[in-house]
């Protein structure tokens, strides 16, 4: 067996392989998937000299441990966390040389939710419809990692970055989500629209890669009945019958039958990926770009 491989020593709560996802297949019911904090995934790839489309690992809250079979360059960013190599502290947000057989450990997130690990050459599992991403809604892509999983690695391309510090947004203590209202704002009362954009919400612990669920005042509909299924976009703020808005993230269903009251600005979604349960959420209405 090739030594371009990575053994998973500790899989953590939920660690998945992610790249830029598989857009373009929504009409077949295939979610886009891909790294939730796309900025962090791009950053770690740059740090190890990978192209932005290389597959990385996305951890959830408590990190993971991996053991490369040969010497590689790795980088961890996204949610800030301790990083060690064979127990010795290593930098976060910088390229780290990890000898073959050594264990790189990503500790629990000090803040935020998802840390990202890039390995020089990228994680080279077999792509499905052009992407290596694990899609937790539809089950496409590799299953979430388990202890003992061995992941193939690609050939390293460019040299790793030479940097002292990297700019990175801190995980939000308050999540401000800019939204444009619609397409189904007319399914809600005026009071509900005011409530959405003026009252505080909080991130629910039921959030996952499919959606950021919220707790807060219920949004009242102005009409009864069912909406025929319609196409859904990334960042759609869907309102299920309980009235609490759900922000669709990368593994969201491609169609849905609950009305979408607003859509979150895409630049605010990486922050949503890093907001721990309980984080205050404010939806701020902005106008449509003309």
């Amino acid at each position: 067996m090739t030594d371009r491989a990575l053994a998973v020593a500790r899989a953590g709560a939920l660690t998945t392989v992610q790249d830029q996802g598989r857009p373009g297949h929504a009409h077949l019911g295939v979610p886009r998937s891909g790294a939730l904090d796309a900025h962090a995934a791009t950053l770690v790839n740059r740090l190890v000299g990978n192209p932005p489309e290389a597959a990385v690992l996305e951890t959830t809250l408590n990190g993971c441990s991996v053991r490369p079979r040969s010497t590689v360059t790795m980088a961890v960013a996204g949610a800030p966390c301790p990083v060690t190599v064979d127990g010795r502290p290593a930098p976060w947000g910088a390229p780290v040389r990890v000898p073959g057989g050594a264990v790189l450990d990503i500790g629990a997130a000090r803040s935020g939710v998802r840390s990202y690990l890039a390995v020089s050459g990228g994680v080279a599992v077999e792509p499905v419809l052009g992407s290596r991403s694990t899609d937790l809604l539809s089950g496409l892509g590799p299953p979430p990692l388990t202890d003992g999983t061995v992941l193939p690695l690609g050939r390293p391309g460019g040299a790793h970055a030479r940097v002292d510090v990297v700019p990175h947004p801190a995980p939000p203590s308050e999540l401000v989500l800019r939204v444009t209202l619609g397409p189904r704002e007319d399914w809600f009362t005026e009071a509900a629209l005011r409530t959405l954009t003026t009252r505080p919400y909080a991130v629910s612990s039921a959030s996952n890669r499919i959606g950021l669920r919220t707790e807060g005042p219920a949004l009242e509909r102005s009409r009864a009945g069912e909406l025929p299924s319609e196409g859904m976009v990334l960042g759609a703020v869907q309102v299920p019958p309980d009235g609490r808005p759900v922000v669709f993230l990368a593994d969201h269903p491609t169609t849905g039958g609950y009305p979408v009251i607003a859509v979150v600005h895409p630049a605010d979604l990486p922050g949503a990926a890093q907001a721990i349960p309980g984080t205050p959420v404010r939806f701020v209405a902005v106008r449509h770009r003309r």
Binding site: G182, P183, T255, V263
Partner: protein, 203 residues
């Protein structure tokens, strides 16, 4: 035809009927093929078509108003045949709902000509229209519906590409593989595909 903005990069185009949505979808695909329309995703649904990944949605919305959308021609194109054993556990309920016997449910279903109106729910799951009758969903969804189940809900027929929870009425089973991501194309059924079900004897 109404074009509703969806964020800054998408439009949801709403029409009055499923037939209009079908015709609009075909027209959008045609215009994308000619290079006139640049868009990342064209997602048809029951009464809408979503265009996602547009540079200037508001300009397209203005242009749309002047479009002539021809009805979809009923040409004799390839029809996907799906052999079905009409042995589903909800056959009695569907028969009772329609006021016919179970064999008649199978006859009605196998006589209809279907078309994939749109996909969703799971990769390769098509919502097929063409059945002349409707049935409600089951009051209590099943936690596990086996792959290959042929099922009805509302005006739609669908085939479960893989085992999953589901609330549709199960009338039969097929061995046809609806989704195989190692196959090209992965999905047997895409929006617009015509489908006929043929009855085969239970094994």
């Amino acid at each position: 035809m109404r074009a509703l903005p969806v964020g800054d990069r998408a439009l949801l185009i709403e029409v009055d009927t499923g037939e209009e949505a079908e015709a609009l979808h075909a027209e959008l695909l045609r215009r994308r093929a000619t290079g006139e329309l640049s868009v990342a995703e064209i997602v048809p649904a029951a009464r809408t078509v979503l265009l996602d990944g547009l540079e200037a949605p508001s300009r397209l919305a203005e242009r749309l108003a002047s479009w002539e959308v021809p009805p979809v021609p009923r040409r004799a194109e390839d029809v996907v045949e799906i052999p079905v054993r009409y042995d589903g556990p909800d056959l009695p309920d569907v028969a009772a709902h329609w006021g016919v016997d179970e064999a008649e449910v199978a006859r009605i279903h196998a006589k209809a000509e279907f078309r994939v109106a749109f996909c969703g729910f799971a990769p390769g799951f098509g919502y097929l229209t063409g059945l002349p009758r409707e049935v409600p969903r089951r009051a209590t969804p099943r936690t596990v519906v086996p792959a290959g189940s042929v099922a009805l809900a509302g005006p739609y027929t669908g085939v479960y590409p893989r085992s999953s929870p589901g609330g549709w009425q199960l009338i039969g089973t097929t061995d046809t593989v609806l989704w195989d991501h190692a196959r090209v194309p992965a999905a047997l059924l895409a929006p617009g595909t015509r489908v006929r079900f043929t009855a085969v004897a239970a094994a």
